[in-house]
Amino acid sequence: MRVFNRLLALLLALLLIVAGFWALAVSIAHALSIGWRPGWLHFFDQSLHQGLQTLSTLQLADWRVLAAASGVVIVGLLLLLLELRPWPPQIVFLDEDETAKWWLHRATFEGVLRSLVVKETTATGARARLRGQRRWRLRVDANASPQLRAEIERLVRSSLERLGRAGDSTVRVRIARARRVA
């Protein structure tokens, strides 16, 4: 989502620059009564005029206007929901000592846990989710037999121990029964 937002901002910046140049070029050409324009600008102007003429003849009750408005509502709502939902932090706090403040990239830890559970046990479809900036809440989901719960919990705890966070983190392991292959 961070990359998407950056691309969106870049696209908006480019659109504003192009629109700004176009408005300046059109107003200067009119003010100086310059009849000549490059072919692409002429084509753009003609298309714009045609579009505006069509819009001025369309009624708001027309199905095309209603369909376009519905599309705009859906895109706007989707964008708003994506931006306003809580985002997980990119880095989480690990420790602080006299040397430094230590942080961990959340997604890398989740990835390591996922592959650890899959590699070391017979569980499949493992997922790990770490939340909380300072007090960690870790949730691990996997498809496995219920007997594997203790083994998965041990693996997760040992990973947290290596990071010195076993004591003050909440761990929840959820096991979904693995589907049998027919």
Partner: protein
């Protein structure tokens, strides 16, 4: 910049939602059938666009300038490297009057310090990749370290080794940095026999 982009995205979403809802409310006749039969673009605006007056051209030029300015500012902000500006090179005071007379001076390049620290951190056991960046005031620099570390590495061991590397940096530069270390974990590679 992340927060700004998020706000910008939310603002665009809100704007689109407002336009769409207004269009739907007017077009569906919820606000009266008079509005439903209105043109999607008022005739007056269309007329001004087809045959602009002098005032229209001035307004268009001003709006164009504004759009250009905002677009360029936004582009510059998006393309700028994130984080604080890099630290200036370290300059040391003359240790003796004799050296001062000779107009000598000692300058330690920031890039050299960062390179040394990167080398030192990259050679630590369990560390696959290291990056160091010095920023802020040269008297009390901010040091940002990024490490990619094998998942099996114990943080306590890593901390003591990184601590020694930072101490060496302090001895070399004579500066006490305010340090942040960010760790990326990577799955342990298995050796191929």
């Amino acid at each position: 910049m992340v927060v700004f982009n998020r706000l910008l995205g939310a603002l665009i979403g809100l704007l689109l939602l407002a336009i769409g809802v207004t269009g739907l409310a007017l077009g569906s006749g919820a606000l009266g059938s008079r509005f439903a039969h209105m043109a999607a673009l008022p005739a007056a605006i269309a007329q001004h666009t087809m045959a602009p007056t002098d005032n229209d051209l001035i307004v268009l030029a001003l709006l164009g300038l504004l759009a250009l300015l905002i677009g360029l500012l936004l582009l510059r902000a998006e393309l700028r490297a994130p984080g604080q500006p890099r630290m200036r090179d370290l300059r040391y005071a003359q240790p003796s009057a004799e050296q001062a007379l000779r107009r000598g001076r000692t300058v330690v390049r920031t890039g050299g310090l960062e390179h040394g620290l990167r080398q030192s951190l990259g050679a630590l056991p369990g560390v696959r990749w290291a990056h160091a960046q010095l920023a802020g005031n040269p008297e009390r620099p901010n040091l940002l370290i990024e490490l990619e570390v094998d998942a099996q590495t114990r943080l306590s061991t890593l901390k003591s080794e990184v601590g020694q590397a930072i101490e060496r940096f302090q001895l070399t530069s004579g500066r006490q940095p305010s340090t942040q270390v960010r760790i990326r974990l990577a799955n342990t590679r298995r050796s191929v026999d």
